[in-house]
Symmetry: C2
Subunit: 355 residues, 2 copies
């Protein structure tokens, strides 16, 4: 029987609720399709930090290394500064495992209305391909001077290697998916060094893909266009920061970021890839059992797909979409229902088993 070993890191806040809920769905898909998902749980979180001064043990990355994938909930909680928690857990995993692609679908689900007037399913259906390992997210820089004279320097680093590989991934993905149109997010009118370089590489890599249409917008107007004409996008590629912003805005136009998944991919498969929802730990509703598990379940479907289990992945999505429009299945409060995290996930699981 096919077996996959998955490192699960529920992390903080609602991560601790949606991860087990999603695992219930995924193990059902595995059972139905005749393979085994072995989850090993790692209890690393802001709690860990408050107890030990570290988000994960010193050999944390090594402990993850031999798994087929990492399934992560959310990182960050009040009481620990965000830059400490994220640079202590999430970001090192992305970097150490060269998960240089963050792939995020932006797609309207059935039964969830877009906040945009007149947009129905099919009108919003594109992918954000985000650079995930360098760029604006950098620990280089610091503070100098004191008091009134203090100055803070923050460096962004763009390597040719890092830029080319994400652009090439975007074009390959566009070709592979049959959506032969890549849009680049830039800001070369304001960011003097980094973005003209980004544009140069986009033009150079684009030239290798004459069968894929390419265009680019400054990120400010691109954000506005997500709202005004989302139907014109197929694959949108952006730097770490721009991809981050656009891949939250995208789910925003699909009604809620609670449903959005992401895949942190090491395309060469030298290291495990990581799957996590776009949403955070939501301290405001954590502990109540009412968090929406859809982003986590959908992330799980992307994980199955990545493991080569395309059919079970499709099954999970079909079950999810069926459950979303079933009149007798209670959705979570953020979607206007009175259901619970576990209850909704169980319903998806039952739906899946009945498909």
């Amino acid at each position: 029987m096919r077996r996959y070993s998955i490192a699960s890191i529920p992390g903080d806040g609602i991560g601790r609720e949606v991860v087990p809920a999603a695992i219930a769905v995924l193990t059902a898909a595995a059972a139905k399709c005749g393979f085994v998902l072995e989850f090993r749980h790692f209890d690393w979180s802001c709690q860990t930090y408050l107890k030990t001064g570290k988000m994960m043990p010193d050999d944390g990355l090594d402990r993850l290394r031999d798994h087929d994938a990492v399934f992560l909930g959310a990182v960050g909680f009040p009481g620990v500064p965000d830059h400490i928690s994220l640079w202590g857990l999430l970001l090192p995993i992305r970097r150490e495992f060269e998960q240089y692609v963050n792939l995020r679908p932006v797609r309207l689900l059935p039964g969830i209305a877009s906040p945009l007037r007149d947009k129905a399913r099919g009108d919003i259906d594109f992918w954000v391909v985000r650079e995930n390992s360098e760029g604006e997210y950098s620990q280089i820089g610091g503070r100098t001077g004191t008091g009134e004279n203090e100055i803070v320097v923050q460096q962004a680093i763009f390597t040719r290697r890092g830029t080319d590989r994400i652009l090439r991934y975007a074009f390959d993905f566009a070709r592979r998916s049959g959506r032969r149109h890549v849009t680049s997010a830039t800001k070369s009118n304001g960011l003097y060094h980094s973005m003209p370089f980004w544009d140069e590489r986009f033009a150079a890599i684009g030239a290798e893909y004459p069968d894929v249409a390419a265009d680019q917008y400054h990120v400010d107007i691109l954000a506005a266009r997500f709202v005004m004409s989302p139907e014109r996008f197929n694959v949108v590629v952006g730097s770490n920061l721009f991809g981050d912003i656009l891949s939250d805005l995208g789910p925003g136009i699909t009604g809620t970021i609670a449903v959005a998944p992401s895949a942190n991919l090491n395309p060469e498969r030298r290291f495990p890839s990581m799957f996590e929802p776009v949403h955070g730990s939501a301290p405001d509703i954590a502990g109540q059992g009412i968090a929406n598990p859809i982003g986590q379940i959908w992330s799980g479907a992307m994980m199955l797909e990545h493991l080569g289990e395309a059919e079970p992945a499709a099954l999970v999505m079909r079950a999810l979409e069926t459950a979303l429009i079933a009149p007798d299945i209670a959705r979570t409060p953020d979607l206007g229902g009175n259901g619970t995290t576990a209850g909704f996930a169980q319903a998806v699981r039952n739906t899946l088993l009945g498909l």
Copy 2:
């Protein structure tokens, strides 16, 4: 009679069309209210660059210095790289004249539908206060290495002085405008040095304004919230880059960025402030006389307000809003009409003279 000397820089593309159109409206307001606007025109643009290798003459800034305000159209055109044109004209003016505030209203106008379902006038009505002189927009950095090994460094510089003054402006503005709620755009979970500093200063300055509510969101989720719940914002303060993105996204949710104005303010009035629409030079429609002049006209109203002419400023806005819903006035094609730039502006002018 009160006289104001205004430096007008139409710049590129549709800037050359909307600036004269707006001036026709503003001079009518001046005539009606008994003061004089003396416009001096500066023909600086990408054309200038192609002819002379410079966007403006070496003493360009000095020539502007003695005016009461600068009225700018748009800068940037295909044929000149964006970072050349913008760092050769727009950005030096903002910096040299310490226009460290970029103030941008986000407000639904009558007769223009929001792309957001169920949002009517009043639901979208807030201000973006953007840092306008430092931060991510920096020429410090560069390239090193060649070919496959090339690395590009882009520095962002945040000074305590620059950060404090924009935050203080935002809180003062919130207090003055009676909208006692400031939201900060941050990204302190990813941007390791700059944004934790920004948050620290936001907390420190906010403490000086106990009567103004303060909250903060990471810019990614903030962008999504602009779409999902715009009614919760009053004053949103952001760094140069975040403010840029949010102040295009904001107008996006009001239907079109063509109508959005901005004020580049030197609050101390040591130097002239500059007024320009949020939109760019729109090369795709330039030269056809169909560009929407509303962003430029509204920018002109903000200029009058800044000059101390509050009543004429209000008159311009009233004329604009009246014209927008008049059944016999043709709007420009971007608003679904068959009107022209000059025709619509003339109609606003006539409406104003009749008020």
